[in-house]
Amino acid sequence: MQRIGVFICWCGSNIGGVVDVPAVAREAAKFHGVVYSAEYKYMCSEPGQEMIVSAIKEHRLTGVVVASCSPALHELTFRKNIARAGLNPYMLEMANIREQCSWVHQHEPEKATKKAVDLVRRAVAKARKLEPLFESAIPVTKRALIIGGGIAGIQAALDIADAGNEVVIIEREPTIGGKMVLLDKTFPTLDCSACISTPKMVSAAQHPNIKIYTYAEVEEVKGYIGNFSVTIKQKARSVNSKCTGCGTCWAKCPTKNIPNEFDMGMSTRKAIYIPFPQAVPNRPVIDRERCRQFVKGKCGVCKKFCPTDAIDYEQGDEFVTENVGAILAATGYDLIDWTKIYGEYGYGKYPDVITGLHFERMVNASGPTGGKILRPSDGEQPKTIVFIKCVGSRDEAKAREYCSRACCMYTAKHAHQVLEKIPGSQVVIFYIDVRCAGKAYEEFYLKTLHEGAIYTRGRVSKIYPEGDKLIVKGADTLLGRPVEVVADLVVLATAMIPSAGSADVARTVGFTVDKDGFFQEAHPKLRPVETNTGGVFLAGACQGPKDIPDTVAQASGAAAKIIGLLSHSEIAGEPTISSVNEAICSGCLACQGICPYRAIEPKEIVERLPGKQVTRVVASVNSGLCQGCGACTVACRPGALNLKGFTNEQLLSEVDALCQ
């Protein structure tokens, strides 16, 4: 028989100013199971907490009901409080008579008082059915896995490794570095992107605590917070570890003229190649789809010339397992394929309509044109360049509804670079808004404006060629008149979208994505670098479009969270998770299919029937993976699955109490 104490809080005048708190306390004293009922100005204050502790001892209470604010605020406070008096911390039930009562019924104090009584009756009914719950101890493997070796992944890896933990980076490209190494200068300071990111790549590669898999993908993730087992698919590089990166192979390779992805196809590479000279690791891969040895079965030039016998045509994909305690997803972004959507800009038919990333490579001193801005069609220097912002962003009708955030600034930077590099050039920028929220961003935009960039507010409706020029037709919506620009080059600021394959990463690791396919954070404000899956974190543009400063900040934030997790040798497992009543479970495993956290697995049990033993399958809950969402308890028709702390019996008695 439970002996329940009810403690009703005034919260100053927050509750007490509306609800007749003493009357609620008097009513509560009459409820079945209640042996003590009291009220106080501030239950969460030290005297309030003392009052609860002494009442537990004096009245030998077995369960406590606190009627006050939302449990989101003070459930933990009161759990610790009753634990001090020797009660199991989960023998607490709260009734929210502030947010759900006094605040919303300010003008109806009598009804509010009546509702408060009902809410307390409900809480007492549940408290009568409470059972002690115990946290489990989950051991933590002090290693982290980072998926994606862009600037977010590298920054987080360095932070985590510097704190003394081992880090494994998985990168699907042949080199780490991501998109940042492609860029020329970074706004607003105009420092060289590669100059600040390649040293970080090298630091990561040389760090004793960091292990890097490039040309690799996550194949399978098993386990749960603190204890993940990750199978990594190391794609066949066809070059083994004897390679010194001397460069003989790609110099000798006869298969030329393959469009170089790193230069957005504006330069060529060989069939055996490193993406760019500062690649980490400095070890080439063979593009098996183009290599003569693989396509035609004969060539062998690279193997013949390799001084260290590092070429291995027989190499197959390898699978490696790494055990880690935390996973960071930092898979970055891609640009939307505008050529499939924007017919009015020519579906990619006109060579002189390019994207911002093409421009970055072109303006980069190590890029395909050696830093010269040239028209792809004829290699001439353009004089009039049109920039179109929000291509695919803020376009609900054709592409994405959201703002890609970085384009306003990089377009301003591009404009600045054009005006600086091409004397007498003209820059026209079509925009919807100019959004420059960031330190020194607005200043940079104004500088570009003063340098002579022509900002025209409006969308471009059509681009078509005329002679060797492009006619750009649009509207100036501020002046309310049509605009036509005869351009030499058009640069589109295309939308950032989640990188290709990121949905597979989410599915493999086991967390959710938002409506646009970006990775879903656990809370948009308070848990921005965590997913809803315990031990899985997020950083960078995979969570939403962002620029480099925000990405790096978020990466360090996620790293701090991971370092915090890995600083424990054991963590407490939430006890409010699902459990299976095997006697009732029929083994249909409807719960398994419905579980978003893959926490349910079949298990065989042996059962005695008259005259024989039978083996049958029942569901079992992995306590490390279960997040206590309760989906399985709803899917289970007979209620064999029950959420501890929210059991069917508890919920039903609450409903009964409310229906009285």
Binding site: K515, A631, N648
Partner: protein, 321 residues
């Protein structure tokens, strides 16, 4: 139909004789000449007890649940509609595929309950039966008895999506009944959906009021495989056990939700109901809704197509909101 019956007997005899199966569940002659009843044949010499005719209305699949712990392999006779129940049981992991042999019948159609009793004299023995577009022809010791399709055909046969079994190891009968496309449109449900709220409410009240809570609907249902049913539980006492409109309604609605997305429209619940409650209409309403909302096929028509409400998908439209 004599041909189908003979084939069932021959195959059963062979399966039992070779030890491929240890039991055959099929139809046998009933307590009177207008009914059949389930028979459980364990010896090859007993296969003569197996029959197949337009009186084999019931769905035998549920017996697999009752023989779940049978040591050995079972062969079971199923019509097109019943075969979906086999998939139901497989998807619900209540039976193992390798422990059953499905004797599928492409069903020519079944006789409406009451019609046989009305026309076939009590002492007449049905020796041969045939169904075609013109109706049923029953050769009996009392002479030829015929029913037009309109008067004789069972309602669920009229709405039959597949008279050919969706799963079978042996298939008997060449061509089953082919329903008129217009009858597959859930028009019966749509008609009720369109009625005013009060009318719908009184329609169901009228039926639920007379429910005896005998649970025959549940007991005969192949989708009801729980070891302990919520309606029998005392703690938690989900649904009151009293027989009155309120609790009866709760019982039927909860049952409909428990089989939602899984009910294969075999019609057993309605067939066995002693109070003639149109339970198929209730279940078919949900089948129709799920079909429209999720584009899901008739439950049980595809082993690979899991019930629409039974799995979590990252790209579920619901999780995108």
């Amino acid at each position: 139909m004599k041909g189908i019956e003979e084939q069932i007997r021959a195959t059963s005899s062979q399966l039992l004789a070779t030890g491929d199966v240890q039991m055959v569940i099929g139809y046998g002659a009933g307590s009177d000449n207008t009914k059949t009843m389930p028979v459980f044949i364990k010896r090859a010499e007993d296969v003569g007890k197996l029959v197949f005719n337009p009186l084999c209305v019931s769905n035998l699949a549920n017996y697999l649940l009752q023989w779940k712990n049978f040591e050995g392999k079972i062969a079971i006779v199923v019509k097109g509609c019943d075969s979906r129940s086999i998939i139901r049981l497989l998807q619900d992991k209540q039976i193992e595929r390798e422990k059953i042999i499905v004797l599928g019948v492409s069903c020519p159609g079944q006789l409406k309950s009451g019609q046989a009793e009305a026309k076939i004299p009590a002492d007449a023995v049905v020796s041969e039966a045939a169904v075609d577009n013109s109706g049923f022809k029953l050769q009996t010791s009392g002479g030829l008895i015929t029913f037009s399709l309109d008067e004789g055909l069972l309602e669920k046969c009229r709405q039959c999506e597949s008279s050919r079994p969706v799963i079978s190891d042996h298939l008997f009968g060449e061509k089953g009944f082919e329903a008129d496309k217009a009858d597959l449109q859930f028009n019966d449900v749509a008609a009720l959906e369109g009625a005013p709220l009060e009318e719908k409410s009184s329609y169901w009240d009228k039926y639920f009021e007379r429910c005896l809570r005998c649970y025959a609907c549940r007991n005969s249902c192949p989708a009801c495989s729980c070891r302990e049913c919520v309606f029998d539980m005392v703690e938690p006492d989900w649904v009151a056990k009293t027989v009155n409109l309120s609790d009866n309604s709760a019982f039927h609605l909860i049952r409909a939700f428990h089989v939602a997305g899984r009910c294969t429209d075999c019609g057993e619940c309605e067939r066995v109901c002693p109070a003639d409650i149109p339970l198929r209409t209730l279940n078919r309403k949900i089948i129709k809704d799920i079909k429209e909302l999720f584009g899901a096929p008739m439950p049980g028509s595809d082993l690979e197509a899991l019930p629409a409400l039974s799995f979590y998908a990252v790209n579920d439209p619901e999780s995108q909101n």
